[in-house]
Amino acid sequence: MAKTIGQEFVKGLWEEIPPFRLVLGLCPTLAVTKSVENGIGMGLATTFVLVCANLLVSILSGIIPSKIRIACFIIIIATFVTVVELMMQAYAYQLFQNLGIFIPLIVVNCIVLGRAEAFASKNKVIPSFADGLGIGVGFTLSLTAISAVRECLGNGTLLGYSIFGPAFEPFSFMVEAPGAFICLGLLLCIMNLVGQK
């Protein structure tokens, strides 16, 4: 049941969109979605790691002995995470500050290791690339959506611009930790509702 490259890409946007369908990578999803800016930043960083790791893993999958494959995957992923970390420090320091330890923690994001293990190590380079990109973009979209909801309600702004006018009293619960959990839970419910039909 071979899928085309396009299908590999598209499945990450809906069928297997993390974290809604693949319930993985919840920590960054909750932690960094206080504002849309952070959400997109985190999404892009993860996408970069995903794509690079998928590429390299699928290239090297023939060479790596299966016993130490997890260790190798971890080295590969950790390398790219450090690349992101350094680049972000150099060129987007404020974002780096906002995302804090969640940048190094991309390394333990189950999505990344999961894709390397479940997909890239068994597939050719181009499908792996498409898969990584699709899942990454899907993740970015999800983070953007969640952070849009939270920023709108919790702060009354979107990407920093006020949208409800000054009379709006922000529902600041949404940007606090409990609000993050409840917001994601309810969005998941909406996704399930949409998926049913």
């Binding site: 932690a31 997890i70 080295i75 333990v108």
Partner: protein
């Protein structure tokens, strides 16, 4: 002594690793459907997190910092944690089979439990001394265990309720976790 009290209460309750710092949420949601699995996971995390925090602290202080290669921290820590988990698994299997029977299946999951790596990084970030790092990581681990076990208690009950279909499972789990976090806000300022 008082400082350590403050550190313990703040790491365990106020800045709870799951409910306030958003770390380790995947296993938190994943292993909380049954009390047995929750206690198993909690035990495994306490064990591994404490060990990992001590080892990574030493590596960071005596190796990375002295060689001035702190930028390799991420890669070093993850390798340490991954091999530590492997080692602990082999060790338990051989020498303490009873404990292995209880914790065994949770150990591999811990590699991708970001709370372990997270606590190691926090210890470095906060520039804790060795003793502080040890205290805080035990307190964080106990906080994780406490939250997980309390959550499992509530969740066992919620699962049996008549939750509407689209909300079932993870969805209602997250909402309930939110209420847990809400309750933990009550500990704010308590030291």
């Amino acid at each position: 002594m008082g400082d350590y009290m403050v550190l313990i209460v703040s790491s365990m309750l106020i800045n709870n690793i799951v409910l306030a710092q958003y770390l380790g949420i995947c296993p938190f949601i994943g292993t909380s459907k049954k009390m047995e699995t929750a206690t198993g996971m909690a035990g495994a995390v306490v064990f591994v997190m404490t060990l990992a925090a001590i080892i990574t602290w030493c590596i960071d202080t005596y190796f990375l910092k002295t060689l001035d290669i702190e930028y390799l921290r991420t890669i070093a820590f993850i390798l340490v944690i991954a091999s530590l988990v492997q080692f602990v698994e082999m060790f338990l299997k051989k020498s303490i089979p009873a404990l292995y029977a209880g914790l065994g299946i949770f150990l591999p999951l811990i590699t991708t439990n970001c709370s372990v790596m997270g606590v190691c990084l926090i210890n470095i970030q906060e520039e804790y001394t060795f003793l502080e790092a040890l205290t805080s990581s035990i307190a964080y681990a106990l906080g994780f265990g406490l939250a997980l076990i309390l959550f499992a208690g509530v969740r066992e009950r919620v699962i049996l309720g008549r939750v509407p279909k689209p909300l079932q499972d993870t969805s209602i789990g997250l909402v309930t976790a939110g209420m847990l976090a809400l309750a933990f806000i009550g500990f704010k300022g308590l030291v």
